[in-house]
Amino acid sequence: MTDRMLVSTRKGLLTLRKNGGWHVTATDFPGVAATAALRDPRDGALYVLLKHGHFGTKLHRSDDDGKSFKELAAPAFPTDAPGEPSLFQIWTLEPGGADQPGRLWAGAIPAGLFVSDDRGESWRLVRSLWDVPERAKWFGGGYDDAGIHSISVDPRDSRRVFAGISCGGVWETLDGGESWKLHGKGMIAAYLPPDQAGTLESQDPHRVARCAAAPDTMWMQHHCGIFRSGDAGRTWASMKLPHDDFGFAVAAHPKDPSTAWFVPGMKDELRMPRGGALAVTRTRDGGKTWESLRDGLPQRDAYDLVYRHGLDVDATGTQLAMGSTTGALWTSDNGGERWTLVNAHLPPVYAVRFA
């Protein structure tokens, strides 16, 4: 099992190590919001995106496993980009394929996709996606502007990349970002007038996760429920749950395409656990049946909300971690059957990632 995790919080990047239990072993950039972090599996580099309250978005990389960080030029919108966008934050950072050393993808608010081919030293806006005419119908979900929160490179073909946008639907390129196609048939948006509920470019996929071993299987926590795709995100089937199906986070089992985890909240103005009792929702049969896992999680007076990137599963598929807006962090080493509180006093957690 992975023995390190990167936790991006309102007060900096926390590194936790597993030694007996999990403990915070480093606090980098204290006081500054960390919005995304990545340990690149190809070369071991650590990346962190910061959102300074006063001074904007910054990017730092460590080439010595976190001992020191170097500031790089953060992604930025070119001045000639239509719509006069100004970067609010980077929401997600993902490595390119194993055959693309140095390539990184970054998803932003506003919903720009940025790409680097030199380990983050320089970035360019992917204009082919920014310039799609459907962008006129994108809108903010949670934040003022639409944003890209999910990027997934197909492990079978690095030129095939999936992007999820709140609120702008799901998009796919087959040519490394030269051109994009809008997908997402099957999603339903109850926040639109009924005759427009299926409009692809107005969907709000909160978060999308892919099964690494069966890359055609994707799971989605949508604003209006949970969906599953068997064709790499092109079409989606709505899952029927016996309880709350609103939430933000999703984790896909890396080996078993039938297993995924979600963290429900009451929809949609409330966004907190029903009855103050926190649960993780799991399916192990492709969405036919659903379990509500609660052992070790607070069952009264809990207001914890788990954001889009606040839930992760490691490569074994049995170890999970989850961090909340209330600053609580839990881990499970048995697929979510039982949870252990690591710390109840962290800053608000934006992202949790095994590294």
């Binding site: 309250g53 006063h54 001074f55 904007g56 500031e71 953060a74 930025a76 001045t79 006069e84 100004s86």
Partner: protein, 89 residues
């Protein structure tokens, strides 16, 4: 030349401040600073070249409104302070 002081938070980036800078306006003086220290630009200006929303500039002790701060005329004896606002923290 104008003297440009930076908030203590930015002194890590500008350890040798205050800096002397030529320019007829606040924007010109800051550009002169950024030409020598390009990494400071993104901390003070956004990607559209505007003064960041939660950064404020004082000219000889008077705080400028952000929307026209960069075009404000300054003289050779001007003292500029680039500070973080209390908002945005």
């Amino acid at each position: 030349m104008a003297q440009v002081h930076f908030t203590s938070w930015l002194r890590e980036l500008v350890p040798d401040g205050p800096l002397s800078a030529d320019g007829a306006t606040v924007g010109d003086a800051l550009d002169a600073v950024f030409s020598e220290r390009p990494h400071v630009r993104g901390y003070v200006l956004d990607d559209r070249g505007r003064l960041r929303k939660h950064v404020c500039v004082f000219v000889d002790g008077a705080r400028l409104k952000n929307d026209d701060a960069l075009s404000r005329n300054i003289g050779p004896q001007t003292t500029l302070h680039v500070m973080q606002a209390l908002s945005g923290g």
